[in-house]
Amino acid sequence: MRQSLAVTEPGFELKGVRVEGSPRPRLDGIDLCIPADGITVIAGASGSGKSSLLRLLNRLDVADAGSIAWRGVPLAETDVLMHRREVGMVFQRPTVAPGTVLENLRLAAIDLDEEAAADLCSLVNLDPNFLGRSATELSGGEKQRVCLARTIATGPAMILADEPTSSLDPEVTEKIEDLARRLAHPESPMQVGWVWVSHDPGQVGRVADRVVVLSEGKVAAEGSAEELSSHEASDVRRAVGGDR
């Protein structure tokens, strides 16, 4: 199991966050601090509220109650468009726009030159020769890497990743996990923090500096994967791969 990095820079602070849903709230009284650096994995069973939480952090949704602050400033008071570029999002289902890979990358950075675009492709393990190819005709894994490169092109301080490797094969998954760790490393020039939703216990162990386990819309536990692998609750242990 991976050793936890020291994570200190304040990022998101959630207080009493509630999102209504049926038959029960999707999120129910979430109090949570997520550092701006390192990789925080949100784990938990299907329907536990992981994706709902991520959408709140990108402000694609707003909470019905409670407050969320990013770096000390309430989200309600920030410029939402600036916030979304500072805290980018990669969705579970890779969604590219019609056009070439280069045109997709330029959605994020209109002045992106071909050399910088090729570097972005290399960064996400995509052949730079793909820049001229139609993005909609790529495989699911290739599309997801285009989406990741597109988000990185905005120069984010943090990336919210909603099960980003669920459509990728193990080899590419490993490369993306490695990329996330490199970008999150304290000595990386980009210094990108991650909030990474995963329901794969193995992945939690591989990438997480810190884990938050959600259960039925509530925080069931938080800590390092190692700490949680011996947690008293079996669903928490299962979420981090400590109970097989």
């Binding site: 694609l60 939402v80 600036m82 979304r84 570029r85 980018g88 969705f91 969604t95 959605l107 905005t154």
Partner: protein
């Protein structure tokens, strides 16, 4: 002129022979449409007779124009209701359709009557407003339904653009463009081919009534421009109003307006 326009009751009855042809086809080919055909033929006759008598008041040059404008308002209301019936999945469609048709009426009738193309009489206002509303209705329904479908079918892509920092206007712009093109292209194509495939209604009516064909063409062209202008106006107002309702002021897809996922 009147001789041509007045076919008399006998002429009307003889034209009914053509309904008998349609009935015969239905019977021979066992289409089961006889009842529908009869109901349609009788309904058309009764409805148009009622409209004809009502129009006598509305288009009478001696009566005040207020009756004419009441008639136009009624047309707009009925059209908005019809849009609602044809596009039930579109949120808030009645108020949006009312605003769209009203905007088109102000723009197109304003140009035609305000700039003196036609005299503002009941005889001119009612048929022109009718053509404006009637032709705009189809485009309005197409655009409204297409916008809702675009928002539903491409929600992932729209949210992906929002997550990249696009404003809601920019995130939806390609879909808005697609919806407007879908609504407007048929009318543009019709305008391009007018006269080549079929003679348009207003011109046919004028020629039947004894007007010189070239004079009838001038009226018809003005009518075609009226239709194109009003179709564009209604489609644009409907599209912009509907798009605005799909998003919140802080650039999120509005949960209340979010179309159901398939």
């Amino acid at each position: 002129m009147n001789d041509l326009a007045d076919i008399g009751l006998g002429g009307l009855a003889i034209s009914g022979i053509l309904i008998a042809v349609a009935l015969a086809l239905s019977l021979v080919r066992r289409l089961g449409l006889e009842k529908d055909l009869l109901v349609a033929a009788v309904r058309a006759l009764v409805q148009l007779l009622i409209v004809g008598f009502a129009l006598r008041i509305v288009v009478d040059d001696d009566d005040p124009l207020v009756f004419t404008w009441v008639w136009v308002v009624l047309m707009v209301v009925v059209a908005a209701w019809t849009v609602r019936r044809r596009a039930p999945e579109v949120p808030n469609v009645i108020p949006l359709a009312l605003v769209s048709f009203t905007a088109a009426a102000i723009v197109s009738l304003g140009v035609l009557f305000g700039l003196g193309v036609f005299e503002p009489t009941g005889r001119a206002i009612v048929p022109l407003a009718g053509m404006m509303v009637g032709n705009s209705m189809t485009a309005t329904v197409v655009v409204a339904r297409r916008i809702v479908a675009e928002a539903r079918d491409h929600r992932d892509l729209i949210e992906a653009r929002l997550a990249l920092g696009f404003s809601s206007h920019d995130a939806f712009a390609p879909h808005l463009r697609e919806a407007l093109r879908t609504g407007l292209v048929p009318q543009i194509e019709t305008t391009k081919t007018v006269g080549l495939i079929a003679l348009p209604g207003a011109m046919t009516g004028l020629i039947l009534a004894g007007v010189e064909p070239v004079d009838a063409v001038r009226v018809q062209v003005a009518v075609m421009y009226l239709v194109l202008g009003s179709v564009s106006t209604t489609a644009a107002v409907m599209a912009l109003g509907l798009t605005k309702g799909l998003f919140t002021s802080d650039h999120r897809l509005d949960v209340a307006a979010r179309p159901p996922t398939p």
